[in-house]
Structure formats: C-alpha cells, structure tokens
C-alpha cells in the first residue's frame, strides 16, 4: 500500500468538504439560485425551502428547534454576535454612567475569536474575568462559581479547546448559569458534530459552530440562540434587511448553508463509529511516541479530551525544526493562526507548560479519512525526527550528563 504524501493531520484547523456535501450544494449555484428573501416566485421559495431544510438539519444535530438557528459566516462571527450582542443587551449600566456595565466570565485559553471580543467589551466599560485552568486545561463549574458576582451577565467558555482538545464542564457550568440567571455562551466549534450535543440537557443559551471544521464548506457557520426558558435577546451587530430574525442581516449564503446542513446530517449519522475509530488512532500515536521517547508530554487532561486531537510536547527539540523534519505531515505547532510567528502557544503557556516545552509541541488532529497506515507513518516519522534533532541538541546532551538545563545562565551577546 503506497501512502500519498503529504499527509493531512490538521483537521482542527480545517477539514476537507465531504463529497456528499459538495454534491448537495451544487444545484444551488446554478439552477436553484433564488434568493430566499424573494417571496413572490418559485425561485425564492426554492431557496427558502433549502435554507429551512438546512436549519432543521443543524438544529437536529444539537437538539435545538430550527427557529433557534441563525446562519453566520462561521464561528468568529457567531462568537462576536453572541458575546457583544448579549453584553450590550443585558448590561447593568449604560456607557458613561461611571460604573462597570456588567461582568463577564471567560478563560485565558479561549480562541482569539472569543478573547478579542471580550477585550473590546472591557475597553467599552465591562469587567471581564479570565479564568485560568489548571495544568489539565479543564474549566470546572466550581471555577466559574468562584468568579460569579452579583453583576455577572455572561459566561463564555469553550466546549473543547482547539489546541489541546480538552473538554470543559459545559453542562455543569450551564446549570450554574441557569441557577443564577446568567446568560451562557459556548464556542463549540471543535465539539459539535464530533460528540453528542443537546442544548437543553446541556443547559446552553448561545452556541457557536462552524461548517469547515465538520466537513462542510468554509465561510458558513451558525449561532444557536435559545428562544424559551429563558428567551435570549441580543443587540444585533449588523443591520440591514432584517434576515435571521434581525440578528444577522444580509442575503443568505444559500449554497454554504445547504452544505452546512448536509455536513451536520452526516456528522449525526456517523458520529459514534467515527469517534471510536479516531480515538483508537489517536491513542496509537500517543502510545508509540510516549513509549519510544523520553521527556515527552501529552498536554491536557488524560481523559477529558476530544478523540481526534492530541497535543504533544517534546523536550530538548525546537518546534520549528521539528516541523521541518516532519514536513510530509501537515500538522500545526501551536495554533494555526499563530504558527507563522515564533511565539510559543499562549494556550500551552496558559496551562503552565514551560516555554521550553511550549516551543516544541505538535498538534495532531485526525479526520474522517485518516487511515491507520497514515497514523503509523506519522508516529514513526515523529519519533525519528525527535531522535535526529536530539542528536543535534546541546540541551539533550546536557540533560543526559545530568546538568539541569533550566538553571544554566547563557552567555548573552
């Protein structure tokens, strides 16, 4: 069996579109191109039917009602609408009243698409608490409870982390928020479609998801907005034609939405078997690497992690040269959006992983078409690359000679 190189193992950054998704989308580019907002002719009705159908498919994947689904351009937009929209709607005081407009709880290892809107709100007069998870990366109900204030209006905690795959206590945090009448948003980009989700039993008010992480197209996503018990209201960011119940004006991306719907339907059908298969493959990589190398660490909680994603740090090798040595395998070091810079990952630093290890970590994320051959190849290649780089590494020599590398004071120039 010959392997095709390079091997794609960066499914947490994006996934290929499932061919069944593409097939479902195609008619909507050409024959069925109508604007769902056109109420007076069959072209418009056709578009509307397609969007309705997709809304049902998305809702069904997360246990929601279809009226609770807002189509967006992806998780970044969903997060912005949810976080800024809820903060502005539920504020305790207006801007310029000389007191905090309200309190928001989030965590330091969120995606930038949550952190940056929170920072914006901070500038605009809200107080924000950034929780720090322990070394396992999990945010617990108790941590959120400890940060709650009388003026807390919004909690936003991601379901599964995109760099380490760690799963926080989402249903428990949701229950807490409902007890305290606080709005609860979760960025579920890396969770939905891969694990069972029910916005009612999981106590979610607002949930962000994105098509291109679940074998759908890029540039389309959804925001779930709870309509009952409690009914969540939001101040819209984008105004215009009043589409999507006024939460998100703009002509709908019908092709993308059809693709997202189909992707959700496929995920629902294949989730269980896919999860077991991916978990076995992930464990295979981890076991191989951990058994053949010393000074390695699988980051994050040992069990509360997504089946398809692992993040491993290697002592005494440098991250960029590790990527170079494993270039036939498309992986990420740190997160996809920041790996162009030489900064170690803020997520790993947030877990308290030292700079030395945070600098040399690989995020490997498997997907629907990852094969066992690919996994074996990748695991062998990584072990080989780390050995090669350690042969080159003065730090590994010192480590073997029993010198504590962290205590050396380097001669600066």
């Amino acid at each position: 069996m010959t392997l095709k190189l390079p091997i794609y193992m960066d499914h947490a950054a994006t996934t290929p579109c499932d061919p069944r998704v593409v097939e479902a989308m195609l008619p909507y580019f050409t024959e069925k191109f109508g604007n769902p907002g056109s109420r007076n002719h069959s072209f418009g009705w056709e578009g509307e039917d397609a969007v309705d159908n997709a809304r049902r498919q998305v809702a069904s994947l997360i246990g929601a009602d279809r009226k609770e689904i807002i189509f967006t351009s992806g998780s970044t937009e969903s997060n912005n609408i949810a976080i800024k929209g809820a903060a502005n709607m539920y504020q305790k005081a207006g801007p310029g009243e000389g007191k905090p407009r309200g309190h928001i709880i989030t965590e330091i290892i969120e995606h930038k698409a949550v952190l940056d809107p929170c920072k914006r709100l901070e500038k605009e007069g809200f107080d924000v608490t950034y929780l720090e998870p322990g070394p396992d990366g999990v945010i617990t109900r108790a941590m959120v409870e400890g940060a709650m204030r009388d003026d807390t209006i919004l909690v936003t905690i991601m379901w599964a982390n995109n760099e380490i795959g760690v799963i926080s206590e989402i249903p428990e945090i949701g229950a807490l928020c409902h007890e305290k009448n606080v709005v609860f948003h979760t960025d579920a980009t890396q969770w939905v479609g891969k694990a069972p989700t029910d916005v009612n039993t999981d106590n979610i008010d607002l949930l962000s998801m994105s098509g291109h992480k679940i074998y759908g197209p890029k540039g389309v996503g959804a925001l779930y907005v709870r309509r009952r018990r409690p009914r969540i209201r939001l101040v819209a960011l984008q105004e215009g034609g009043g589409q999507e119940r006024g939460f998100r004006s703009g002509t709908l991306n019908v092709t993308g939405i059809v693709g997202l719907g189909k992707a959700c339907e496929l995920c629902a059908a294949e989730m269980d078997s896919e999860r077991d298969r991916l978990l076995a493959l992930r464990k295979k990589i981890e076991d191989k690497v951990v058994s053949e190398l010393d000074v390695v660490q699988v980051n994050g909680h040992p069990e509360r992690r997504m089946p398809h994603l692992t993040n491993i740090s290697f002592g005494f090798v440098e991250g960029e040269s590790l990527m170079m040595a494993t270039k036939e395998i498309a992986m990420s070091s740190g997160s996809a959006c920041t790996s162009a810079s030489l900064e170690p990952s803020y997520v790993l630093k947030g877990l308290g992983v030292g700079d030395d290890l945070a600098h040399s970590s690989l995020r490997i994320s498997l997907g629907r078409w990852t094969t066992e051959e690919e996994v074996d190849y990748a695991a062998n290649k990584i072990v080989e690359a780390v050995r090669k780089l350690r042969d080159l590494s003065p730090l590994y020599d010192m480590h073997q000679e029993g010198i504590d590398v962290s205590k050396i004071e380097w001669q600066a120039h």
Binding site: S321, L342, Y396, I403, H413
Partner: protein, 134 residues
C-alpha cells in the same frame, strides 16, 4: 515558512555535528574552545567547539544546535568556514556573510547572529584557556 535550498541541504545533512568530549572533559582541554550562546529572541541555543593545533590553526570544529532550521544551517556553515583558518581569521566570519550564503530572510537574521556569537565565544574561550590577550 519557505526555506532556501541551501538551508534545507545543511539541515538535512548538517556538517560536523558533535563535540570533543563531555561538558566536563572539554572544560579541561586547552586545545578546545567552547562557545555556548543563546538567542534571547527565541530561546534557541547553539554550542560550537573548535580544536586548535600548536600553530593556532583551527583543525576541526563541531556544533550542536537547539534551534530552527536556519540556526542549524548557520552553525553547520560556520563549522565548515572555521576549519583551516587561524583563530584570528575565524573572527573575520560575519553574520552578514552567513545571511548571504544561506539567503536568510529578515526574521531569520538573528539565527546567523547566534552563529557569529558562538564563533566569538568559542575563540574567546580558547584564548582565555591559553592566556592569549585579544
């Protein structure tokens, strides 16, 4: 990041990897100069060792590097250029020459600076061990 062919060549087949003994051993050897330097920009570390004959000629050089591909290539190139020079000629190697030879992009200039620093540190160590004034 795209690397130049020369960087890739050095990276895949680095020249003169190694050392002339353990940390403790080379400390005792007067014919060996050791430079270990770190790059504050990125936390990378380079170790360069030169072995000098009675005439003050660098007869051999070895390196180890914890760093990016450009740092590995810079140090590999440095050992190549050092061999056969006198100690003082070694000091003439400049990071700009390394940048040019390897076509390093601006963000990778500090990797070549690391190599130049390692050369200077190794030569300084040799001179100090042998009581040679600069």
């Amino acid at each position: 990041m795209a690397y130049s062919d020369k960087v890739i060549q050095h990276y895949e087949k680095p020249n003169n990897v190694g050392n002339f003994g353990t940390t403790a051993e080379v400390k005792q050897r007067k014919d060996v100069g050791v430079g270990i330097v770190g790059a504050p920009e990125c936390g990378d570390v380079m170790q360069l060792q030169i072995k000098v004959d009675d005439q003050g000629n660098i007869e051999d050089a070895r390196f180890k590097c914890f760093g990016c591909g450009s740092a590995i290539a810079s140090s590999s190139l440095a050992t190549e250029w050092l061999k056969g020079r006198t100690v003082d000629e070694g000091l003439e190697i400049k990071n700009t020459q390394i940048v040019e030879e390897l076509s390093l992009p601006p963000v990778k200039i500090h990797c070549s600076v690391l190599a130049e620093d390692a050369i200077r540190a190794a030569i300084a160590d040799y001179k100090k061990k042998n009581g040679i004034e600069n």
